[in-house]
């Protein structure tokens, strides 16, 4: 129920915003939220992933990627990205 109060406004804002605005959200909103309540943050990721699987709509993919990056930074998810050095 709590998640529903902010999930939709957040996704709508991300979908409508330019890169500069998303960078500010990424810097000043999502990290604060993840510090305050990591549990809710992982709920958001799960909820968004489920929606993508159910609806086959990828409109919230950008927001999901943003969340993954934060989750990795906050050590909520293992960082499974391949280091750039290994790609060369």
């Amino acid at each position: 129920m709590w998640l529903e109060t902010w999930k939709k406004p957040l996704l709508q804002t991300i979908n409508e915003s330019d890169e500069y605005h998303i960078r500010l959200l990424n810097k000043y909103f999502l990290p604060f939220l993840s510090k305050e309540c990591p549990h809710a943050f992982t709920d958001l990721i799960q909820s968004m992933a489920n929606e993508i699987l159910e609806t086959k709509q990828t409109t919230s993919l950008q927001a999901l990627m943003l969340c993954f990056n934060i989750a990795r930074r906050e050590k909520l998810l293992p960082d499974d990205r391949i280091p750039f050095a290994l790609l060369i």
Binding site: W6, H21, L24, F29, F32, E36
Partner: protein, 229 residues
């Protein structure tokens, strides 16, 4: 001896009541030097502290007219607007606002209604400086029972509107902190309402003022240039 105490208390109340209008009038002067303005706001802050400690609630309430009370409450954001870059003044205004809320609870029996009405006003004034609006919203939402619920009922699209306000890097940190504070207050309200026990790795915490983590405060204090792209 008891007569002396009573007359001493009476004199003290008299002095307190007489000094209200000069203190308020001086605190409204934005045309004086910074030092003068700081002294005037400090004087009002001390007056409020004395008033909150006084037991003569009825006398204080009857001495302050409704219009003077409105001027006193509005002072936080009207003076903020006239001293946009004076951190010392803004710090004093924050203190004054807290003391006003305490005094309001002491002297008015309908303080609860007044706090909700104030939250409604703060949420609806579009011309208010965003940083002070965020501060006042955070304070009131935490203070009022089910304050976050009331705010989101009053302003259905508050979260979306505030997320959009984050376009401005000058106010982005304050707005981000404000949204999170309101969301955490709402979360606490829902947990209390439904008696839910939710846990997280580090637990849910609502930071206020100085308790905000240092790295976050560092970001907030960053003076990024305003950019309304």
């Amino acid at each position: 001896m008891s007569h002396f105490c009573i007359s001493s208390k009476s004199r003290s109340l008299d002095t307190l009541l007489k000094s209200f209008h000069p203190a308020l009038t001086a605190a409204l002067r934005a045309d004086k030097s910074l030092e003068w303005q700081l002294a005037a706001l400090d004087a009002l802050s001390i007056w409020l502290l004395r008033a909150t400690r006084s037991t003569y609630h009825a006398q204080i309430a009857s001495h302050i007219s409704p219009s003077d009370w409105d001027v006193l409450v509005d002072l936080t954001w009207t003076r903020w607007a006239s001293a946009p870059n004076a951190n010392a003044i803004q710090k004093l205004l924050k203190e004054i606002f807290s003391k006003i809320l305490t005094l309001q609870r002491n002297i008015y029996s309908d303080w609860n209604k007044r706090e909700v009405a104030l939250l409604e006003r703060v949420a609806q004034i579009h011309s208010m400086d965003m940083k002070v609006q965020c501060y006042l919203t955070e304070v009131l939402v935490r203070r009022i029972t089910n304050g976050a619920k009331k705010l989101l009922e009053l302003q259905e699209y508050w979260i979306r509107t505030m997320l959009r306000e984050m376009k401005d890097s000058g106010t982005g940190p304050a707005v981000g902190k404000c949204i999170v504070s309101v969301l955490m207050a709402r979360r606490a309200e829902l947990i209390a309402d439904h008696n839910e026990v939710e846990c997280s790795e580090s637990g849910s915490r609502t930071y206020i003022g100085a308790e905000w983590p240092r790295d976050v405060v560092g970001d907030l204090e960053e003076t990024a240039p305003s950019n309304n792209q």
